[in-house]
Structures are given as C-alpha cells and as structure tokens.
Amino acid sequence: MKKIGFIILFLFIFASLANAITGEEIIKRIDQNMLFKTAKMTARMIIKTGIEVDEKTGKPEADTVREKKLLMYSEGSDKAYAEFLYPNRDKGVKYLKIGDNLWMYLPSVEKVIKIAGHMLRQSMMGSDFSYEDSMESDSLVKKYDAKLVGSEKYLDRECYVVELVAKVKEVTYYKVKLWVDKERFVYLKEELYAKSGKLLKVMVVTKVDHLGGGRYYPTYMTMRNMLRKDSKTDFIIDSIELDVKLPAGIFSLRNLRKG
C-alpha cells in the first residue's frame, strides 16, 4: 500500500513539474504577444498633474490635464516613428528610432535633433514616459533573465509574478517586476527599478484587447513616475493595425524633415 502511495505521489509531482511554466517561458509568451512585423497605431497620451485626493469623493483628482494625440508606426523592435497631431503647440513634432538611435524633429526650429545619452531619460512631452520608455519595443528574452517568483490575483485576474534582471548593459531599467495574466500572457502591472533597487516607475494596464489569432495587446496603460509626486500619464491606443504595409521610407531622417 505504501508503494502505491509513493507512486501516486511521484506521478503527482512529475505531472506538476511537467506542467510548471518557467519565468523565461512566460516572457517568451509575452514577446509573442507584443512583438510584430509592422504596426500602425493612433494613440492618446493624457498627462495628469497636481493629483490630490478629493476630500468629498475620496478619489484622486488631477489639477491639470493635458491630452496629446499621436500617430505611430513600428517595424520589428528596431524601428519606430511617432508624430504628434494634437495639440497645436505640439503638432508636427516627430520622433524616429532606428536601433539604439533616436532623433526628434522640432517644427518650431525646423531642425532634427539627436537625443543621446541621459537625455533619453527625459520626460517625453511632459509625460511620465521617458523617450526611452516610449520607444522601447525590444524583446524581453534578449535583455533579461526571468524568474517566476509567485502567483497572485491582480485586477481580478490570476497572474504570474515574474522578476526580470538585466543580462545586458543596454537596458533602461535594471530590474523589472511583472504581473502577467495567466490566460492572456499580457502583463497587467509592471514595476521598474534602478540598479540601486529604487522603484522608478509603475505601469498598470487596465484594458487588454484581443487582436485575433490568439494575440492580446494592452490598449489602456497608466504610467506613474515615482520620482514625481503627483502625476500620472494614461496611454490609450485608439486604433491598432498589425502586420500592415507601411509608407515607404517612413523610418528615415528624410521622412522626418518632410512637410
């Protein structure tokens, strides 16, 4: 009888191990969701500052709200283009990313400016996203070692909790902690840390869309720069088309200067 018990226990442990998912497999599944050949998006960035808890409602209220609209194209993880369409004061500001290079076109001075070094850390158009954040589209697997550290419920969804530690130097954040939806393999919360262990930013995903073919994509994200006391930025993707034909020469300095 003891023998049978051992066999059942062994089979149970074996089956559990066979079904267990590793941290690396989880981020591979995230990459499958987030990476694509080409994409065209229209999005809004809503920057809220001066946030304080309203005494009557008990909810946080922003003192000032600024909305920006942008058009984005991307190809793989190396090329990205963004153009601001609204408001008028920002209209025509364009960004181009090719590999690790980032350029910005400012219509007010009619000049292409290269953004390099720590300038990449600067807030993009006053938002809680930095230039680096907004142009980040690299594969997680290539840049991080992943470790599954637990499971917990987040926003009523069962999530894996995964810790990522940079394995290459060229990363914006040394350590990342993700809450990954077990069913859809999209992270619903992301904590971004400096090498010192200091929490720099927190991103929460509140809307995920099914794009067909079993692919899910976050379409409503809220980023909080923890070094700012009272601001947050919502990034809302209004439309997204994947694997579409993009305008010829869109990822070039030539296009950045075009009218």
Binding site: N88, S108, V109, G126, L253
Partner: protein
C-alpha cells in the same frame, strides 16, 4: 495703412479656411504672441510692447509636392527702445518636390546646420546672434537638394540667392551615422571673392553623457585663415533636471577688448567679438505644465556675461505664458556691457524683464 495689409490677408485667409473642405486639404496654423518688456536702460527705465503673429499655410499635393508659406507680422509699441513700426514679412515660402532619389526645396526656407546648443559655427546660413535672437531664425532664399544615402545618411547641396549676389553661397554636406554617433563634413563657398570654409560636426553619447562638437576652418582669399569650434555636453538626472555646458572658440575674435571690431558687430557682419565663450544651462520640467530654465553665457576674455532665467507655464493646451529676465553685465567697455560710443543703440548692457503670452492655433 500698409502695415494693416497683412491683417486683411490673414482675416481673408481665415475666412476662407472656415470652409470645411478647404481646411481639410490645407494645413493652417501658427501662433499669436504678445509680450511686454520692462527695460532697465542706463538712463531710465522704459516699457515696450511687442506683438507678433505667425501664420503658416501649407499643403501636401499628392505624394510628391509640398508647399509651405509663413507670414509674419511684428509690431513694437510703447516708449520704444528703437523705432520699430509694424512690419510684415514672408519669412517662409517654399516648395518641396520629392523625387525618388532626391528632395528638392526651392524658396525662402530655414536651413539649420550644426549640432551645438547655442553656437553653430557650421551654420553659415543663420548663425546665433544675441541681438537677433527670436523664437525662429529667419529664412534664407535658396535652392536645396538632399540626396538620401541611407536611413540616417544623406548628401546636401545648397545654393543661396541673396540680395547682394557677391554674398551668394554654395554649400555641400555629407552626413552619416555610426554606432551612437551622427557626424557630417561640409564645404562652403562663402562668396564670390573666393573665401571658402571646410568643417564638420558630430553628436552622440559617451559614457551615457550626450556630447556634441562642431569645427570649421575658413580660408580667406587674402591667404588668411581662421577656425571656430564648439564642444558641448549634456546630462539629464532621473529627476528631469538637465545640465548643459558648451565651450565656443571663435578664431576671428580678439582676446583684448581694445581689439574688438565693434563696427562689424553692430552691422551684423560678425556675431561675436571675443575668442572664448562658455555657456552653462540648467532646466527642469514639471509635467507638461511648468518649465524653469537658467542660461548663462560668459565671455571668458573680458568677463562680461548674460544671465537668462525663464519660467514657462502651459496655461491651457495651446496657451503658454513666459516670465523671464535677460541681464547683461560686466565691466564697462566689454562685449555685453559696452559704453555708448561702442554701442550707440544702447541695447546692450541692460536688464530686460519680460512677460509674454503665446497662443498656438
């Protein structure tokens, strides 16, 4: 009456633009700016009001043609510093034609060369000048051809058409990218007298610090030659505080105050008097709402300086308010604090306080 011509044109255009079908095809925008300056002149304080309207009308016609015009109306009132009645100008007016192998731009346009923050020795078309500085640099009438060589590299040819044909310039630049650096080399035929300029610039990243540089060597027909260069660096902290430093070497400048060429400076033939300058800047943004900036320019040869603090407030999505000051100081008879013989206009050596509102439409 003449000065109101532009206003009538603007109103007419806005009226036409109100038609939805017209507005769909045309890109119409610009800004209206009103500024009040309080100037601590050496003799007495004065107040000046400056108004500016910039109207952009542009249109893309098919995939290969783009036309762009910018009309500017400027007016200065109050106990004026200098007589500056309202005037109109057509500051940009050009057509861009996109061929498969080349982009051609013909007309009055801005050609912005160089990588420096403040000084751009390679920019022969519109160099920085403290007395001429405005939000936009003036356009220049020219034909420009850009031949792309790759996504981040191209060749550029420019032929200017200036009022005095003897000052017409022909310029060539080749620009490339390697690793985290952009770089370029250029040649400029400065005039018909046979003065030429060779130069280059770079911008990139070194140990996470943004670095920039420009260098030119001018060969005059007389056999004389001189060089100019800048070296700059910037660093941004996690708190969004950005620090910038830039050194400028002006080979045509003098190290001794008595050798300054005031006549060329005041007539706009040269833009700096001394040989060595230093720029230090710091800025910080608070969301998209507030920004504070502090700029400091030092003439290291005579010790005169410019301090320029500014606070910007984005009141509404398209409405910005600026509050600042510009102080020029140093010993009497120096570049930024000249005496009345050196600078009869009296514009230099003062402290300007300003407040301005700018509405973008």
């Amino acid at each position: 009456m003449k000065k109101y011509n532009l206003i009538y044109i603007v109103l007419l255009l806005l009226l036409v633009a109100a038609s939805a079908s017209f507005a769909e095809d045309w890109d119409i925008g610009g800004y209206i700016r009103s500024e009040i300056d309080y100037v601590m002149f050496k003799d007495a304080p004065r107040v000046a009001a400056l108004d500016k309207v910039r109207l952009r009308i542009a249109r893309e016609i098919g995939d290969h043609l783009y036309i762009h015009t910018e009309l500017v109306y400027n007016r200065m009132d109050g106990s004026s510093l200098v007589t500056l009645p309202g005037y109109n100008s057509l500051d940009r007016c050009y057509a861009q034609i996109y061929f498969p192998m080349v982009d051609l731009t013909v007309g009055r346009q801005r050609i912005a060369w160089g990588t420096g923050y403040i000084w751009n020795p390679t920019d022969v078309f519109n160099p920085f000048s403290l007395t001429l500085s405005d939000e936009e640099r003036e356009g220049i009438s020219a034909a420009r051809a850009i031949v792309p060589l790759g996504a981040a590299s191209y060749m550029e040819f420019v032929q200017t058409a200036q009022q005095n044909p003897a000052n017409d310039k022909f310029a060539f630049k080749i620009k490339g990218n390697a690793g985290l650096f952009d770089f370029s080399s250029s040649f400029v035929k400065l005039n018909s007298a046979g003065d030429n300029q060779f130069g280059g610039d770079f911008v990139g990243e070194l140990l996470t610090i943004g670095v920039k540089g420009e260098y030119i060597n001018v060969f005059l027909n007389s056999g004389r030659q001189y060089s100019r260069y800048i070296l700059g660096a910037d660093y941004t902290f996690e708190t969004d505080v950005m620090l910038i430093g830039e050194y400028y070497f002006n080979g045509l400048g003098a190290t001794n105050v008595s050798a300054y060429d005031w006549t060329s400076y005041l007539t706009g033939s040269i833009y700096q008097l001394a040989r060595d300058y230093l720029y230090l800047g710091a800025s910080r943004t608070y969301g998209d709402i507030y920004q504070i900036q502090l700029s400091y320019i030092l003439n290291t040869n005579d010790g005169s300086f410019v301090i320029y603090p500014m606070w910007t407030w984005n009141v509404l999505n398209d409405l910005d308010f600026y509050l600042g000051a510009l102080t020029m100081g140093g010993s009497s008879g120096t570049e930024y604090n000249p005496n009345s013989t050196q600078d009869p206009t009296g514009l230099l050596g003062n402290t300007y306080y300003f407040a301005k509102l700018r509405y973008s439409f």
